[in-house]
Structure formats: structure tokens, C-alpha cells
Point group: C2
Chain length 722, copies 2
């Protein structure tokens, strides 16, 4: 079946909805097994209850499923779970069985929790969620379980999920009553085990308000990882950032002029600190809250600036949000294609509709992308209940038929579509940031971020986002100490987007961490030492690019998250179920970031042997260690058998020397490693580069396949580690 | 009209609903001015939109309005606001005008915000709300504005309120665009003034989900205070605690035995520290999570213990929650009268129905109240999204027809009814605690509390709760330092319920603030000094009882909150609009609690002259002062013209010497003060005691009216302060 046809058959925007209402929407609730209406393909099933809404993540999606790649996943013969559901006066209720030892992960970006069984979440889009209530920049009604399947509830409503610890009352007085908290061992919450509803078969309850039907997609595994892969491929396959996107990013102070921007670029080059992307913050526009998208007086000749920077191998990324100021040239055109409420006196474009996307995209193309702008930071597209209530109300109405609640769940997604379409049209790749996302998001080359700033929370985000097709950056803004700055820098270089966001600092944070002094140009004593430390950390990022890029190619082709929690690779190991302060980069690197104040660090190593990246010392897995953590090093462990390629650190990714590799072979039983040479084009040509070590001969070889004729990897040195 | 008849006419539980659907519930939304169906009485109007639900705060209320008292309020000729509304596919939308300089207060207990204009709230019952999202132990769809009226949306749904900062988009490009944050003065949120939607006429938007109609009550003022009074009197009039309830409370460690309880009582008496009420925590029962309500083996003879303590002038208050354990004798009887989901393996009684109230109440009467128990601490009746998700789901069903969402909004209220009915039947007064409450709550002699423990938040609660017919205690549990303990003690003695909740401490916290050492009996050095400081603070409470009691009588008779924010008395003074760290006790005392670490304290004194309670120094009002705040003193200011009576501090309120007053006359133009002698009975006989100062003769007199023949106030000394 052709892709477009397939998408249509699923009820895409241009197709008819497939909806077989098996339960009529009546005031009297009615429970029924939902009719299993469709085996979409081996390992993917769709159930329909009632009459689904017109506006959903699936119905408004713009990217087609990666059907061919899905065929490479293992066959799953039987649907691993059978939803039960009803339409009632409260909306739709979906119930799903949960076995007694099943753990649950996902629900989009959940910064305040990891394993979800036992918890309740209302999946409401919100900026800066302090409490573990389900409010999130990117809540998603998708989750996977350790039983090896995933569930997507195709709704743009704020669904409420009870993750498996509710029990019906008995019909009569129970005959056997276990005394759980009488006179001995009293515990208000009955202990974490019971609190999570473990030890008993249970069920997941999902309420979707304000609707009379919903589609439910079941993604088979058979492993949890494969269920995630299937979801990511169904979403369209993982994003593949251009190589420059994996370099280092620096966002300059918001009110910088064109000359100051160029000055900062010069600083990076003359100080020999790697940087590939410079980000501009709100003030580049004539008006920014709401936005005009028009270069302001600080930028006399933006086209020339962008070109000069490009010649110096810098890309430019522009901050913006989607609320359109009356002075913006597109305001009038967008008036009929926007919601009925304004935000910051600006229009809210209805990106679900083609017209708004076209008007918005065309202007961005003409004003920015045509002169060389490489991408955007799409801010403020989440909701704002906790942060000043500045966004549009949930009762808003949009021309597409969406209400404000649905639009809050979808605007982050369709905003990414709008921007991506500009680059698609120009056959370019982009990479950027977005503050809200949602279901089926894996193909979008946008990374989530937050104004929250707990370092631990930020580390958690790297691990937790991987369950739901999301990318997350623990961006570095300010620091309370040199140690804090170093620790945060060490974390961000092991993330999808390595960035300092210095929007309120005139000078690089290592020159002066104290904001006022920084802006007054009073530098810290010995700042050069801190600069050197930060340079070294950024160089570590540059060394890691071949490995990170290869992990992204696997995300793109196979749906395997490049950064992910340990439990995704080791679902049967009870020790990793709650670990979100360590994560995997690709298949073979285990990262255990350290936060300020920690002198030692507990690290759990899963099964197998692992090597300390820095000392090459070998450790047996399936146990926890306590390591000393010297400030200059972030704990990184390499799985035995890995062939790890580190690039020569260069000032930017266009330096030909960045293709020179030092290859480390960890142990005698090494497995071939695969890297990819990427031509950077829109539909990239990828050479597959296989690195193989012959242990007998103690000799390595590089085997290339593919037609890309640009810069190529070469191995400067092979190092065998016993 | 008779009270019962009147209540019925409003659609009480025994009456028919008055519902005139002016807008049919259709899928197509329809906006319309709601028909003003009823002027209930001068100053109170009811509007109906669509077909209201059967289960609401008003339809399930058990206490009748204090009609006679309402007649004493000023006549308000015209309804001060006209709601507009519609029934649509999202539920009901209510819109209310808001003028450009109108400020809004209330929405029940809102621990994270004070003035509500500009904010969004979803009024969802939840324990321990960390974020300002509307989650609350006691959210209430009632608010008042500085324009002098109150609004009650009569719903048990989780309504969402947008408090006046949303604007429709214009029909065309605005001709005049004020550049607010272009190149100069950039501010993402447009400054607090605009963020609150001030400076422009705006509207309040209220969405009520899952219903097809709602009643809206408008309470006229003409002042904000009088609107609150009208609401409180409509609710039934404010609670009047028995005099012992205003003494000092101490909750002992949860696993204390009968002898340990008596030992703690002895300690208070021999150490000469006042105490009127001892509270028992979970372990007094055979099983407590869920509850049996049956005395456990730690209490060999509870009746005797209660009697012995009563003879020593202690009351006993019992902790419990409403979730009924299978071993409870009432479990089987309650099975058909409870919700379909269990909590902690216990039943959730349907207190909206008479049967559940009767079964539950009868057992409590027999087991506890008949042997002398004075009241309860009704725990855990809020929801638990953030704290382990232990409560019943919103999709639960109850025999009364309520679903779980409605029950979460109502269970705290109907639980209070259930307990109050037991005491009503015995013609006794009670005073206790409850962790959730809601609309129309002022008549309930129950005080709210929280597991949250920020001292500043707790102070805020005293001021903020007064807008919505709620009482709040900043209970003292542990302390991080002696200073913290003293500061918290100083706050709690100026609150509706002065209590230490030492449920996890074997010894009084002043003996050892460190938990482990406390429980091991290792006391701090010089603990006697800290004990003496705390004794003095508790004695201050005992001195204040006549004033606090009189304020409660005004709450009872006139609906005036005994503890309240300054803005309620000074709505026109812009300086007090955001002050929630000071509050008024009655009409004449201004309390400005201090938190640990503060060496000075800013205090705003409103118009008039004020005297420092401790130094008698006089200060002119309408200005802010910075005071030094020595640790032993909490800043308290007395309005010029006040005649303040301080009681002789005694060990309990039954000591006849507690009626001996020292009377302080503040300034030459003193106004007569009124205290009340209270016989403590169910329908109390109250003598009115007027204290008058003749400035010429420099002589005071006490004028008594009433028939109560028990202990009487006498003045030991008059002190004139110039």
C-alpha cells in the first residue's frame, strides 16, 4: 500500500475517519468489549469505541508512518492487550488490564515521575509543572509496559489516567482480611509495593472528557523497546538532525545587536571553543511579545550577518513564538485563520488548517530561511496555568473546529509541522527547539526544554523523554557555582542538543557566573581556568558526535531512541525500574551525570562487563557501585565488546578534521560498530561505515558501503583495551 | 417563611429542584443572557442556566440559611452583576463582567495565591497542592470582588475559572497599536498590571464540565465584607466553637497507649502549660488505614480514660478518616450505601445519602461520643493526585447518583454533616478538624489543615481562608530550630485552632526539636528555657480567648469572619490588596506573624492609629513600617479606640479564673466593646457583656444583659493607654 493511501486509511486529515461506533453515546453508560476493528499490520492494532472526534493527533498528523521500516520489526501474532470501554455522561472510559508485576513508562514528558504504575495523571499541557499531576510541556496519552506493548489513546483532550491501583469494592464482607496496618508496621500508604497496585492483577483506567468516542492503538513488541520502536516508526521514524545540529549551541543575550552577535562568534573562534550554532533570543524582532517575525533595528543587514556567520561555519537559530503581533505583516492575512482569543495582543494561528501554516511558513521562508537561517526555537506553545495564565483559554474556538483544549494539545505539533514544511520546501534539514509537543512526535527535529531548572530534573528528562518519541535538552543557563556550571555542562553535552542559553548574560557564563557582574563585564578571578574546563567539556561533545549521530540514524531508521532509560534495554532487571538519573546513549554508553555537591556517585551497571571511559577500568555488571567523582569527569561507562569511535575535536562540524577518528576497542569479544557518513541533504545519502577489530591480529579495519562522496571518516589510531 | 420551607424552595435535599432551563442543552452552543429567575431576598439573587444537576452543594446541604440574620444586612436594591451563559459541547460556560479596577478574592482555600484576578484556577479537590493551579483541600466556586458582591456557582464539578485577563481577537487589524515590549522595556508578561487584565473592562470565564446547567447565586454587599457576611449567613451562619475549643490543643504520638496519653496530660498540668484538648492519632483504633473506629488494645478502658481526663478538664479528639475497613462493625451495613471503588481496602460511604450518615453516625455516637469524646479530626477526605493516588477515582459511582468527581467536592462537607449530626442529637457542641471542605461551609465547627508545612503558606492560609466561609489552622508539628518553633507557635495561637500536632513525637517538641532524639528521650540542653518560652506563648492564647470568642460570636450571628485579610475591611486601600502575611483578628487586632530568620518585619498599618500591643507605642496608619522583631514577641497592633480584654491565663478554660479580665483602653475615643458569656450548650445562651470606658472619669464599667447564670466575666483591672 502506498504511504499516502495508508495514512488516509488511518483517518488522516485528507481521509475519512474510520469509526465504527460499537457503543452508542447514550446517557446511560454501557460497558462493552470494544470491537477489534482492524489489524493494521503485524504488531499494530486499532480499536474504536463510540464515535471518535474529528480533531485528534492522528487525524491532524502531517507526517506519514514509516511503513517499510515497521516491516522489519518482529511479527507479533496476537494483540497483547484488549481494551474495554464505554461512552457515558462523563465522556469515554477506557479500561486496560494490568498484570500483577507489570511496570509502566511514558505518558510523554513527565519531569516529576518515571515509573507510572500507581500514579494518576491528568494529561494537560502546561509550562513549568512543579507537581507530579500530569501537567507537562508535552503530555502524551502513550505509554509502554514491561510486558512489552504500547498504547496510544488518540485524543487531544486532557485525558485522566489512573495507572493501575484502583479496586472495586467487594460484593460482601471479605472472608479473609489481611491486617496491614493495625498495631504493627503501620503505614498510611500501605507501602510502595501496594501503593503501586502491584502484587495483584489490576487495570488502567483512562477517562477522556468531552467526547463520545476514541481510537486506541496497540503497539506490539514483543519487547518494550520494540513497542517504542513501532510507535516511533508509526509516527514517521525518529528525527535525524543535520550534523551541525549535534555540535555546540550558544544563545546570546536577548538584546545583542548584529555586531555583538558577530563579536560573540569571533570570541568562540579565537578562544578555540567549539560552536556550530548561535541562537538569537526575543529582541531580534521589532516586537516580540507577541511576535512580528521582522528583523528589528538591532540588525541592520541580517542577510549579510547570516552569510558572514555561515562562512565562518556558524548556523543561526531564531527564537520566536506563534502569537502574531498586529504589526506583523502576516497579521491581517492570519486574522480569519486564527482562534477567537488573543495572546499578548497577538493572534493564535490555527496551524491545524492549511491556510495558517502556509501564510506563517511563507513569511518565515522569505524573511529568514531564504537568507540562511537554519532553524527556530519555538517558545511558549505550551499552556500557562502556573505561570501567569497568558495563553488562550480552553474554551477558545478555531476555524478548523478545534477548541482551545484540543489546540493546546496540538499546537506544539502542528507548529513544528509548519516550520518543518518551510525546510522541506527548500529541501533542507533543520534542527531546533520547541517548548511543547505531543503524540506521534518522533519525526520532528525539535528538542524540548523548560524554564524549570533543577539539574536533577533535567537529567531525569533525558532518560524519561525516550519512552514517548521525544527529545529533551538539559540546557545550561546560569549556575550557582563553578562546580554547578561544570556539572550542568557535562550533562548537556550528553544530550540531544548541547546548548548554553545565555539569553540574560552579556558574556559567556564561565567568565562570570554572577549575572550582574557578568553583564557589567567584571570577570571572575581565574576565569580562564573555568573557560578551559568548559572548553574541554565542549570538546568532549565534539568527540562524541560520530556515536551520537549513529544513534540518531538508528532512531530515524529503526525508531530506537538515541537517549533512553536503562529499563528500556533491561526490562526484566528489577534494579533499573526506577533509575532515571542514569541513561544510555545508543546501545553501548551508560552516562551517569553528577550534580553539584556530590563527591561520590552511586552507579548501577546492568548485566555484562563495563569499562570506565576515563580509566579503562573494568567492572562487572548487575551491581551498584559507589564511585568517586572528580569534578573534571562525568562518569561514563562503555559496554564490553564496544568499538567506540571518538572524533578529533574541532571548532565546528564542517572542519574536515572532525572526520578523523580514534577508535577504542573494549575487550576481546568486540562487535563491529557502524557509523554513518551523512551528506546533510534533505533525503540524506548515508554511507555505512563498519568498524571491525580482528582480535587475533590486533588490527582494526574500516569497511564502507554507500555512494556519498563527501568527507569521510578515517581512523587515526586504534586502541585496544583489555 | 419558615426555615425549612425556605430551604426547600431553594432546592434542598428534600425539596424539588428549581430549574428553569432558559437554554436547551444542544450540541450547537448558544449564548444568552440568563433569565433572572428569582430575587431570593433583598441582596440575594439566583440565576439559572440550562438544567442544573441533581447533585450540587446547594441541593445536598444539610444546614439551613440563617434567614433572620440575613435580614439585618443592608438592602441592596439592584443585582450588582448579570451573568451571561451558554450550554455547549464542553459543558456550561458562564461569563461575568469585570470592571477595570476590580480585584477578586476567594475560590475557597488557595494556599498559593491571594488576589485572584489574572489567574486561572481549576477547582479540583487535592491534598497538598504545591502549585497555584486551583488544586486545594477546599476549592470553592465562590468569590468576592472589591466592587462589593459575591458569586457562588452551585456546582460539585471541577470548574475552571479564568479570572479576567482573556481578550477576544479584534475583527480587523487594530488601528492604534501600543508598542509594549519592542526594543525598550521588554517584558515577557507585559507587567503585573496588564497580566492581571487590569486597566480594561474584562470578564470572568467559568467553565463547568460534564453538565448541562447550573445555578448561579449573586450575593450583594454593598461592601465586600457584607457580601461575605451574606454568603456565610446564607450558608447557615458561622460556626461558634465551644469555649474549650478555643483553648490549647495537643495531639499525642500516634502509638501512645492509654497510660501514655494520661501521662502526657499529667505533664501539661504539672508543668503548668495550658491545655484543653488532647488529640489521638491513627493508632487508637484496631485498624486505621482504612479505619475500624473501634478502640484497639492500647486502650484497655477508653470510657474510663475519657472520664478521668474530662475530670481533669481535658477533652479528647479522635483522628479518623471516612474509609471503612472490612473489620469495622459497620462495614456490612455500609456496603450497599457506599461507592463502587474502595480506598485502602475500605468502603467510601455515600454521605450524601441518609443511610450512610445514620449508620456511620450511630456507631460513632455509641463508641465515642456517648463516652465523652468531644470531636474528631476528619483526615484524608481530600483527593490525592499528588500524594500517592490513594483516593477513589473521579469515575466512581455512588448510590446517591453522585460520581467520584462530585463526591470529591462534597465528601468533606457531608462528612462534617455526618459528625455534626451526632453532636446535634446529643445536643452538644463540638469543634474539630477536617482536611477538605467546600461551598456553604461556614456553619461547620471544623478547621482545615494541611500536610504542607511552609510557615509563610500557613500564615497566608489564616488570611486567605476568611473569604470563603472557611477556618484554617497553621498547626505546629516539628521545627528546624528553636526560633522556628517559637515563630510557628506565635502564629498558631492567633488562629481559629491553636494546636501542636506531635503525632510522631514522644515528647513535647520544646524538649527536643530533633525527631529521633525526641523519641529516644534525649532532651536538648536548656530545654526548660524553650518550654518556658512556649508556655508563655500558650498563655497568650488563653489571654486572647475572650476576644477570639467574641469574634466567633460575630461570625455566628453576623457572618463576619473572625480571622480575615485586611482587604476585607479596607477594600479601597490599594496597599492592602496583596497583603496575606498579616491578618485581622476580629475588628481591632492586626496580627503580623514573623517567620524564622526574620530580624525585622515590614508591617502595613491601615488608616487610623494603631498601638503596639507590647510597648503601647502609637503609630499612624496608612503607612508601612519596618519593625525590629525580638524573638519573644509576635507583632500585634491594636486599633485606637479599642477596649481589649485579656483573660487571666489558666491551665484550661474551665478554670473559673479564666473569666477574670484585665481591660486595656486604647486612647481617649474608645468604643464600647462587647464580649459574650457562653453557657457552652447546644443552642447557647449568650450574655452580652458591654465594656465601656468613661474617659472623663477615667473609669470603666461592665454592663451585662442576658440570662446565662454560669461563670461570669469580671474585670480585675482597667488600664488606660494614651
Amino acid at each position: 500500500m502506498e504511504r499516502r493511501k495508508f495514512l488516509n486509511s488511518l483517518g488522516g486529515v485528507t481521509g475519512a475517519l474510520i469509526a465504527t461506533p460499537v457503543i452508542a453515546a447514550e446517557s446511560k453508560p454501557q460497558t462493552s468489549v470494544i470491537k477489534e476493528i482492524e489489524t493494521i499490520m503485524p504488531g499494530l492494532w486499532k480499536f474504536t469505541i463510540g464515535k471518535p472526534e474529528k480533531i485528534t493527533p492522528q487525524s491532524t498528523r502531517m507526517v506519514e508512518p514509516a511503513l517499510a521500516s515497521m516491516q522489519n520489526l518482529p511479527v507479533v501474532a496476537a494483540c497483547p492487550t484488549k481494551p474495554v470501554g464505554e461512552v457515558n455522561s462523563r465522556g469515554v472510559l477506557v479500561r486496560l488490564g494490568l498484570t500483577k508485576d507489570e511496570y509502566v513508562y511514558g505518558l510523554g514528558l513527565q519531569l516529576q515521575s518515571f515509573q507510572q504504575r500507581g500514579l494518576k495523571k491528568m494529561l494537560r499541557v502546561n509550562a513549568d509543572p512543579l507537581a507530579d499531576s500530569g501537567d507537562s510541556h508535552a503530555p502524551i496519552p502513550f505509554f509502554v509496559t514491561t510486558s512489552g506493548y504500547g498504547i496510544l489513546i488518540d485524543t487531544a483532550r486532557y485525558a485522566t489516567v489512573y495507572m493501575g491501583n484502583k479496586k472495586y469494592k467487594p460484593k460482601q464482607v471479605p472472608k479473609e482480611i489481611v491486617d496491614k496496618n493495625g498495631n504493627d508496621g503501620w503505614n498510611a500508604l500501605n507501602g510502595p509495593y501496594e501503593r503501586l497496585g502491584l502484587g495483584l492483577d489490576s487495570e488502567i483506567l483512562i477517562e477522556i472528557p468531552r467526547c463520545q468516542g476514541v481510537d486506541i492503538y496497540v503497539f506490539g513488541g514483543p519487547t518494550m523497546m520494540q513497542a517504542v520502536q513501532r510507535y516511533n516508526l508509526f509516527s514517521g521514524g525518529g528525527a535525524l538532525p543535520p550534523r551541525w545540529g549535534l555540535g555546540f549551541w550558544y544563545r546570546v543575550q536577548s538584546d545583542f545587536t548584529q555586531d555583538q552577535v558577530k563579536g560573540m562568534a569571533d570570541y568562540f573562534r579565537t578562544s578555540k571553543i567549539p560552536c556550530d550554532v548561535i541562537g538569537l533570543e526575543p529582541h531580534w524582532q521589532t516586537h516580540s511579545y507577541s511576535c512580528t517575525y521582522v528583523w528589528g533595528e538591532r540588525f541592520g543587514n541580517p542577510a549579510q550577518m547570516v552569510k558572514e556567520l555561515k562562512d565562518d561555519h556558524f548556523r543561526i537559530n531564531l527564537w520566536e513564538h506563534a502569537f502574531v503581533h498586529p504589526k506583523s505583516p502576516i497579521y491581517e492575512d492570519l486574522l480569519p485563520h486564527s482562534g477567537d482569543y488573543e495572546v499578548w495582543e497577538g493572534l493564535v494561528p490555527d496551524f491545524i488548517g492549511k491556510d495558517a501554516r502556509q501564510i506563517y511558513g511563507d513569511f518565515h521562508k522569505k524573511e529568514h530561511v531564504d537568507i540562511g537561517v537554519s532553524g527556530y526555537k519555538a517558545d511558549e506553545c505550551d499552556n500557562s496555568d502556573f505561570t501567569g495564565n497568558w495563553s488562550f483559554p480552553e474554551l477558545s474556538k478555531f476555524p478548523s473546529g478545534a477548541d482551545g483544549e484540543q489546540m493546546h494539545s496540538l499546537i506544539g505539533l502542528r507548529y513544528q509541522d509548519t516550520i518543518m514544511a518551510v525546510f522541506n520546501e527548500k529541501k533542507q534539514r533543520t534542527y531546533g527547539l520547541v517548548r511543547s509537543s505531543g503524540a506521534l512526535a518522533s519525526p520532528y527535529p525539535f528538542v524540548l526544554y523548560s524554564d524549570l531548572y533543577q539539574h536533577r530534573t533535567f537529567i531525569h528528562g533525558v532518560a524519561q523523554s525516550g519512552f514517548s518519541g521525544l527529545l529533551w535538552t538539559p540546557e545550561v543557563r546560569h549556575a550557582v557555582s563553578n562546580e554547578d556550571l561544570i556539572r550542568r555542562m557535562q550533562t548537556v553535552v550528553f544530550s540531544p542538543l548541547a546548548m548554553i542559553n545565555a539569553w540574560y548574560l552579556k558574556n559567556a557564563p564561565w567568565k562570570q557566573i554572577e549575572r550582574k557582574a557578568n553583564n557589567e563585564g567584571r570577570f571572575a578571578e581565574n576565569w580562564e581556568q573555568l573557560e578551559a574546563q568548559c572548553r574541554e567539556i565542549i570538546e568532549l561533545r565534539m568527540k562524541m558526535i560520530p556515536a551520537i549521530h549513529a544513534a540518531f540514524v538508528r532512531y530515524h531508521q529503526q525508531g530506537i531512541p538515541p537517549f533512553r532509560a536503562l529499563v528500556m534495554d533491561y526490562p526484566a532487571d528489577p534494579a533499573v525500574r526506577n533509575i532515571s538519573n542514569q541513561f544510555l546513549l545508543g546501545d553501548n554508553l551508560l552516562i551517569a551525570p553528577v550534580v553539584e555537591g556530590e563527591k561520590t556517585r552511586k552507579v548501577y551497571l546492568p548485566e555484562g562487563d563495563w569499562y570506565d571511559l576515563w580509566t579503562s577500568e573494568k567492572f562487572s555488571g548487575k551491581q551498584e557501585y559507589v564511585f568517586n567523582v572528580p569534578l573534571n569527569l562525568i562518569p561514563v561507562f562503555v559496554r564490553a565488546g564496544t568499538i567506540l569511535s571518538l572524533a578529533k575535536p574541532t571548532l565546528h562540524t564542517e572542519d574536515p578534521e572532525s572526520w578523523q577518528l580514534t577508535v577504542f576497542v573494549y575487550g576481546e569479544n568486540s562487535q563491529p560498530a557502524v557509523l554513518f557518513e551523512d551528506d546533510g541533504s534533505h533525503s540524506p545519502e548515508l554511507n555505512e561505515v563498519k568498524l571491525v577489530w580482528d582480535n587475533k591480529k590486533q588490527k582494526g579495519s574500516l569497511l564502507r558501503s554507500g555512494k556519498y562522496a563527501g568527507p569521510k571518516y578515517s581512523v587515526t589510531e586504534w586502541k585496544f583495551i583489555r
